[in-house]
């Protein structure tokens, strides 16, 4: 069962993403800020296969998290960015830092399932 890390500071969005992924059969680690996500990713035992992260978060932003994953911890696992419509510049920055895909909030449940499956198959 692939393990997915979800990082989102809004409780309702975090829980909806987590719930949908669990219904799809994935193991989920749900955290509410980027610093907690960073701690999880630095633990090799966590064996995270995919990351879904919000961009605008306190303490450590999604962009900082992506930068850490790609340039500090040097993980190649796929990253999906969660963003509200209208944040195109930040989404582009996320892609430049190494994000693989993005979803707008609130997400379409079926779209989430398809994008996650596709990225997990690709790697």
């Amino acid at each position: 069962m692939p393990k997915i890390l979800v990082c989102e500071d809004d409780f309702m969005v975090l829980k909806t993403v987590e719930h949908r992924l669990k219904l799809d059969g994935y193991a989920v680690i749900a955290v509410s800020d980027g610093s907690k996500a960073r701690d999880v990713l630095k633990d090799p035992a966590a064996e995270v296969r995919l990351i879904i992260t919000d961009l605008l978060m306190p303490y450590v932003s999604g962009l900082e998290l992506i930068n850490t994953v790609r340039n500090e911890i040097k993980l190649e696992i796929p990253i999906i960015v969660l963003s509200k419509l209208g944040n195109e510049d930040t989404v582009l920055e996320a892609f430049n830092l190494g994000a693989d895909d993005y979803l707008t909030k609130p997400f379409s449940p079926n779209e989430l399932s398809v994008r996650v499956k596709k990225l997990l198959m690709r790697r």
């Binding site: 809004d10 309702m12 949908r20 219904l23 449940p109």
Partner: protein, 116 residues
């Protein structure tokens, strides 16, 4: 016609009623604090805080099917991002606030038992 629509939440829940109720309980209990934050930011003309609070809250409006209010919230976020348009915020926010209070009141009437 209801001021909210739980179709999206029910789709996400996938038949898990406990999950649906957890989300509704959270929304009912936490929305008043969001309103307080927005009110204070507006009174202080603190547009950075206002923008952050409305940005974070908008997806929750869609989750509970308050889509017209989500549209107004998006507009408020755009206005709060543009220094030359912040003067429009009070009137737009007034309509948003009234609509949210009414919708929350209706939702609480139907699901407030979850918070007891």
């Amino acid at each position: 016609m209801k001021l909210y629509d739980l179709k999206y939440l029910e789709e996400i829940a996938g038949g898990d009623n406990a999950f649906k109720e957890e989300m509704l309980k959270y929304y009912i209990e936490n929305t008043p604090a969001v309103l307080q934050t927005l009110d204070k930011s507006l009174n202080d003309a603190d547009w950075g805080s206002f923008r952050f609070a409305i940005h974070k809250f908008t997806p929750n409006l869609t989750i509970v099917g308050m889509t017209a209010l989500a549209g107004l919230a998006n507009r408020l976020e755009v206005l709060a991002t543009s220094p030359d348009k912040t003067g429009e915020i009070p009137s737009v926010y007034s309509g948003f606030r009234e609509g949210l209070v009414n919708a929350l009141s209706e939702l609480t009437g139907d699901f407030g038992y979850l918070t007891k």
